[in-house]
Amino acid sequence: MPDESASLIAKGKLSMDATAFRAFYEETSPPLFAYLLRASGERALAEDLLQDSYCRFLCAKLVPEDARHRRSYLFRIASNLMRDQWRNKKGKDEVPLSNSFPDTAIAAHDPDLNIQVQEALQQLKVRERQLLWLAYVEEASHKEIADSIGLRAASVRTLLFRARHKLAGIIGKNLRDLDPRMDV
């Protein structure tokens, strides 16, 4: 009986029913995990953040009805959790996320791409990775990015430009190193 009453209490408090959640999870968990893995650089951390993000999402009182906004809301939760994690690590004088990029973090299909991605992303800050990912993989608007990362919308354009320029420089350098005749 206690289990039944407990599930009844909890049932009314989640923002989705089990069937709807399963469909939403199957649709959004791979891109969310890719984002968390590439931005944080740690597999175990990305897995923890993934579960925490969905827990917070389900326990939230006001979840958007629209599918795109719902997805954006989930990414915002994940970004906030990642930022909290980064701040905690920084506060404890542990290795910052941007420097803790193990070899196992990236597992792309193409081994050459694997190395390139790993090397390139390693040289970016966590926030730069978040910005670029949200802008060019998730195709979020500047306002959505600002909401997700906790920045002003006006700052996003400038920061995005800097991050993009930095990554383009790194990619260009990597390509030139691979083939000196190449002009990027």
Partner: protein, 160 residues
């Protein structure tokens, strides 16, 4: 570093995202320094956004996440439900802490009455120790009781 911005940047991004692929936009994307950078970075990141089958299979099961969320929701509900109890406990402890000095002060006035009421009773029930030490025993008992009340209040506050 000079910041550059192209007005067609958003159009290029939209075209790459699966929107209408206007030939003019794509030509512009290849020629414009800003847009070609967008193109390069976007393609690079998109290639790395694909997870392997193994990675997708290793993702936690939806049921597991759902149950964990249920547990979290239940925990939150319980915290909310017991909030009045915890609030009353804290108020009681605070009131006790404020009232303690006043109680000690008042007990000085009550002390002669207490000894009048209790001492003859204690003395008549049995003389386990010399009658002169009864007053001291009573004082010790009251002090002990106050100390224990304080200790239990502190424990309750810790628990809250």
């Amino acid at each position: 570093m000079n910041e550059q911005y192209c007005e067609k940047e958003q159009e290029v991004a939209a075209a790459l995202a699966g929107g209408p692929r206007d030939a003019e936009i794509l030509k512009h994307a290849r020629e414009c320094a800003v847009c070609s950078e967008v193109l390069l970075v976007r393609e690079f990141l998109r290639d790395s956004s694909q997870l392997t089958t193994q990675e997708i299979e290793n993702l936690p099961d939806a049921t597991l996440v759902w149950r964990r969320a249920q547990g979290t929701a239940l925990e939150k509900t319980l915290v909310r439900a017991t909030l009045p109890i915890r609030a009353v406990r804290i108020v009681a402890c605070a009131a006790g802490a404020f009232a303690a000095p006043s109680l000690v002060h008042q007990s000085r006035r009550l002390w002669p009455r207490l000894t009048e009421v209790w001492l003859p009773h204690i003395s008549s029930t049995g003389r386990l120790w010399p009658s002169g030490s009864n007053e001291l025993a009573l004082l010790l008992a009251i002090t002990g009781a106050i100390f224990l009340i304080g200790l239990s209040s502190w424990y309750m506050l810790l628990d809250a």
